[in-house]
């Protein structure tokens, strides 16, 4: 029997309207989500990548019952996010992060006490639970300091502590490591992994490719309100033309040279970029047949030619997909 997806959306749309003008009201409509279909398996980490303004936060807010969709359906743990929001709220956690969203004038412990009460965490367990999450995010030492004295990274940790305080079954993390130093970011990633082993489904949005690659077995790329690709990292590599990438750099290439490279076995795609006086050709390869030497041989007469091979990174995949969508 196929398990019920932890998160499922079908044709999800969201349009924002803004009005301006006093006598003559001008209405501007922005389509933040344009028919998103997605299913996320339970007890996994799912990553959502996308450029700024792609609709990631809008998507997360709808799934966490903070925003109503204008079309389509969304369910979490098999329950509709609109009709069953009361059932869902105690079972999901949301970490939006940033400088806002906390009571800055009081300390971290009191912030957590307040939310523990709103989530109905049993009173006898409350203090122990607060201690435990503070320890987990590494904030015990600063628990009694006012939040306004916190650094950005500490605030981010407190956001996470609040998000996991009530032990949600699904946790939405919107760019959880933004603003964190490398050590704290690594600790946060470790924390996220440990949550999954505790049975929590994590839905993560991020800008950091290595983070997505490290944490998420499955990734979707969102651009302009649509999911443009969804697969494992290996699958996405294949989607944009292969695991291997060759880069050839010289002072300009002729069209016929590019055509020759395109004809080499296994070459699925060539992207040309100019920077300064030089041009870089990036070749995606589906097979092992073509080597850097073959490329070197196909481009005779270039005195300053350099060719190197590397593995196609998630960043390559991401940029290819987003640029393709932009075209």
């Amino acid at each position: 029997m196929t398990p019920i997806p932890a998160i499922e959306t079908r044709g999800l749309t969201r349009t924002f309207e803004s009005r301006k003008g006093f006598l003559f009201r001008e209405v501007t409509r922005t389509e933040a989500l344009r028919g998103v279909d997605l299913a996320v398996a339970p007890e996994s980490i799912f990553g959502l990548l996308g450029p700024n303004g792609a609709g990631k936060t809008t998507f997360v807010k709808i799934l966490s019952t903070l925003l109503l969709p204008t079309g389509g359906k969304a369910s979490v743990l098999g329950h509709d996010v609109v009709d069953d929001s009361a059932w869902l709220r105690p079972r999901i956690g949301l970490v939006l992060g940033g400088e806002r969203g906390l009571y800055n004038r009081i300390n971290a412990r009191d912030n957590l006490r307040y939310f523990a009460d709103l989530y109905g965490i049993p009173t006898r367990e409350r203090e122990a639970r607060i201690e435990s999450v503070l320890e987990r995010v590494g904030l015990t030492w600063a628990a009694d300091r006012r939040v306004e004295e916190y650094s950005r990274g500490m605030k981010q940790k407190l956001h996470i502590a609040r998000g996991i305080l009530h032990r949600p079954q699904v946790l939405f993390l919107d760019e959880p490591t933004i603003g964190l130093d490398p050590k704290s970011a690594r600790e946060t990633r470790k924390l996220v992994r440990s949550l999954v082993s505790d049975g929590v489904t994590i839905f993560l949005t991020t800008h950091y490719m290595f983070e997505a690659e490290e944490l998420c077995p499955e990734i979707a790329v969102m651009s302009k309100g649509r999911i443009v690709a969804r697969d494992t990292v290996a699958g996405l590599r294949h989607l944009v033309g292969g695991d291997r990438t060759l880069e050839a750099e010289a002072y300009g290439f002729e069209d016929r040279e590019v055509a020759t490279l395109r004809a080499l076995p296994g070459v699925s795609k060539i992207v040309s970029e100019e920077y300064g006086p030089k041009t870089r050709l990036t070749l995606r390869l589906r097979s092992l047949e073509t080597t850097p030497d073959d490329v070197q041989a196909a481009l005779p007469g270039h005195t300053e030619l350099s060719v190197r091979e590397r593995r196609t990174s998630l960043e390559d995949v991401y940029l290819d997909l987003v640029e393709e969508e932009a075209r």
Binding site: F22, E99, N104, E148
Partner: protein
């Protein structure tokens, strides 16, 4: 080791008269838009047309209940018509400061090399215009609805009194805006001075009814002098008598603007020293 070339990069714009006016104008037009109250035209219209009417109706009825006659009603109506200037002068300027702290733009403003004089004075321009409109509409209500008599001959004198009062009150608002830089929120200051104005500035009853100490405190507020000048103008007092009060309003305005500049600089330093610029 890499070295930094001090002359590299775009040349700095010289502090010319043009840059002064540019800073002034930017602050006059853009800064008020950052506050909620002055972002929307319907809010501005509400400040000008509804607040004075409601405040006047309220106090006029109180005077009626307490057995006040036509002259007491006229006194109260005119006093409240003028006191509503507090909303557009003190509240709006303080709100701009609060709003910029909340949006995190105040820090950027303080690190900019903009001329502070132009910056602060620019912020006062729109509130002065709205204050003028608010008091004028309030006085119109006083005449049309509450029996305040204003002989046509006194209108020029009244116009001068109203204009000077608007300037002085906005200067006072800027002064409080400087304090607001240091406080978490300045809406408190706005409230305090709205209420103090009602009590000490002769809005609802002659300040002479108050104990001497309170009367002296009242003289520290530009509203007290502005309202006295407006009442003298409406009463048709001699030009010499009114001019004396105008002089007092001008002094109040100059002192307010001067203190405002000093306080902005002082509290800018305090706020930067204590880090309160990022607290709200």
């Amino acid at each position: 080791m890499a070295t930094v070339n001090a002359s590299a990069g775009a040349p700095l714009a010289p502090a010319t008269r043009t840059s002064f006016w540019r800073t002034f104008w930017t602050n006059a037009v853009i800064a008020p838009r950052t506050t909620l109250g002055f972002m929307r035209i319907d809010f501005v219209l509400g400040t000008i047309f509804i607040i004075p009417l409601m405040q006047m109706v309220f106090f006029v009825f109180v005077v009626q209940v307490s057995g006040g006659g036509a002259s007491a009603i006229a006194f109260t109506a005119l006093g409240n018509a003028v006191s509503t200037v507090t909303y557009s002068s003190i509240f709006s300027v303080c709100q701009t400061t609060d709003s910029e702290k909340q949006q995190g733009t105040m820090e950027h403003l303080l690190v900019s090399p903009a001329n502070r004089l132009a910056l602060y004075f620019g912020r006062g321009l729109l509130p002065i215009l709205i204050s003028l409109a608010t008091v004028s509409v309030g006085i119109l209500y006083a005449v049309l609805l509450f029996g305040v008599q204003i002989p046509v001959a006194t209108v020029p004198s009244l116009a001068v009194s109203v204009t000077l009062t608007a300037f002085a009150m906005v200067g006072f608002g800027l002064l409080l805006g400087g304090v607001a830089l240091y406080l978490r929120t300045s809406i408190i200051l706005g409230n305090i001075f709205l209420f103090i104005g009602l009590l000490l500035s002769g809005v609802n009853f002659p300040a002479s009814q108050l104990p001497t100490v309170l009367q002296w405190i009242g003289y520290g507020f530009p509203l007290t002098w502005g309202l006295s000048a407006i009442r003298a103008s409406v009463a048709g007092d001699s030009l010499g008598a009114v001019a004396l009060l105008w002089g007092a309003v001008v002094v109040a305005a100059v002192v307010s603007f001067g203190l405002a500049i000093g306080l902005w600089e002082y509290f800018e330093r305090r706020a930067l020293a204590t880090g309160s610029i990022a607290r709200f």
